[in-house]
């Protein structure tokens, strides 16, 4: 098994890389080459097989090059399409550039990665894909309009891909994590703001706590495995009960 993980250098991507390394070769792609390399080194140190690739998913040509390189090492039969960013801006203040960055990173970025990987997977008639959407795909959150729209786009992309490639033996699902204690939660926040965000989420989540990256990784692991061979086109929420629908 060979799994490609985008955004694999930190947070949920990193936790999934470390978890899946027990049963899969891992290719870690990340905008930060240093972070990707650190995760690859960690996997190799515990006896696993891993390679690191520095790539920005906004760059379609670069994505195709990385996928070709990784696939040549060993055919990629699992993809965790996960790279993402978070910015909090009131709708009135969202600039065109900010909107584009949010939508392009999530929707167009995942499209580029999925397309490049699927071109190789389809002739092999086998594969599984999980894409990182969010609770916010199905709930409105003030100050997060662009992020909500981007994450819902990923869910729609997931449903379409799941039907388009099902006859090729490829399953496509999405995860919708709730509040998880990852670097994204701390990004663009002071230490005090971060602590405040944690406290607010602890109140909001029925389980009364934030999730850990490995608790999301366990769900991705399940969805990519044969145990989930009849689960397709779904949005699965490791969210502590934040959204139920």
């Amino acid at each position: 098994m060979h799994t490609l993980i985008t955004g694999g250098g930190s947070g949920i991507g990193r936790a999934t890389a470390l978890r899946l390394a027990k049963r899969s070769r891992i290719s870690i792609a990340d905008k930060s080459g240093a972070n990707a390399q650190a995760v690859a080194n960690e996997i190799r140190a515990s006896g696993g097989k891993a390679d690191a690739y520095e790539v920005d998913v906004l760059d379609g040509a670069a994505v195709r090059t990385v996928v070709a390189k990784a696939d040549a090492v060993e055919p990629i039969d699992a993809l965790f399409n996960n790279a993402g960013i978070s910015v909090r801006t009131e709708i009135a203040d969202i600039s065109g550039a900010e909107w584009d960055l949010m939508l392009d990173t999530h929707a167009r970025g995942m499209f580029f990665v999925a397309q490049a990987v699927l071109r190789n997977m389809v002739p092999r008639k086998k594969g599984a894909i999980v894409q990182t959407s969010s609770d916010f795909a199905v709930m409105g959150v003030p100050g997060m309009a662009a992020y909500c729209a981007a994450k819902c786009a990923i869910y729609s992309l997931t449903k379409a891909l799941s039907l388009e490639f099902v006859q090729d033996g490829i399953r496509v699902n999405a995860i919708g994590p709730g509040p998880i204690d990852t670097p994204i939660l701390a990004s663009n926040r002071t230490e005090a703001e971060y602590r405040d965000a944690v406290a607010r989420n602890e109140t909001r989540v029925p389980m009364g706590r934030l999730g850990k990256p490995d608790e999301v990784a366990a769900v991705v692991d399940f969805l990519l495995s044969e145990r989930a061979s009849y689960i397709n086109g779904q949005l699965i929420h490791p969210n502590g009960g934040t959204v139920m629908w």
Binding site: M207, A218, S229, Y230, N232, P238, M244
Partner: protein
Amino acid sequence: MSSSNGAIVVTGAGSGIGREITRLLLDQGTPVSAWDINLGDLEGHNSPNLMVRRLDTRDKAALDKAAAETVERFGAIAGAATCAGIFRPKPFLELTQQDWDDHFGINLRGVLFTCQSVLPYMRERKKGSLVMFSSTLARSSKPRTGHYAATKGGVLGLMRVMALETAKEGIRVNAISPGIADTPMPNAVYESGTMADRAKANPMGRIGTANDMAQTALFLLSDEASFVTGQDFRVNGGQDPF
């Protein structure tokens, strides 16, 4: 899951999905308390990791007794999968009160009673996982299934509220909504041609299996799903994305 963590209660354990969950749990060494009105090949089949009780899930006293006996035998109840259910399709205008009461009694009230029988033991340990069975019919409709669909929609409502009420106590509650699966329940009421048509209509070109559903149930019962609660897993090959 190991035996020191307690047993899993499985209702409807005598056939179909419940029987497959029982098999998988026993295979991995997890103790099972298997309950059914018709135990099938489990009848009289007690082994160190298996306790069987013949009971009707409409009988609250019998459920409470079986739960107490399970704790006595295995030390604790780690979780429950409520698979007991009936499915007798009928045109809406021909439905009798008996049809309605049978379906609601087993498919919904039976689930409530089963959960009530095991929850106190889970609360004591601040740990547990409940897996209920809804159906793809709770969301997407087929003729002649109004009464059944209503019970399965009810399961989703019950599941969510129970998840909220127990979330801070270390207890997780989730549901599985199977698409039509190759189990005795639909096979008893549908012609083989109907089953074949359903397979053709599915994006994956096949109907589900008891194993498909049981694998998801085992995932939800395990600590792998430690941040998953209040969710409905639609195991249907992609036929009904909602």
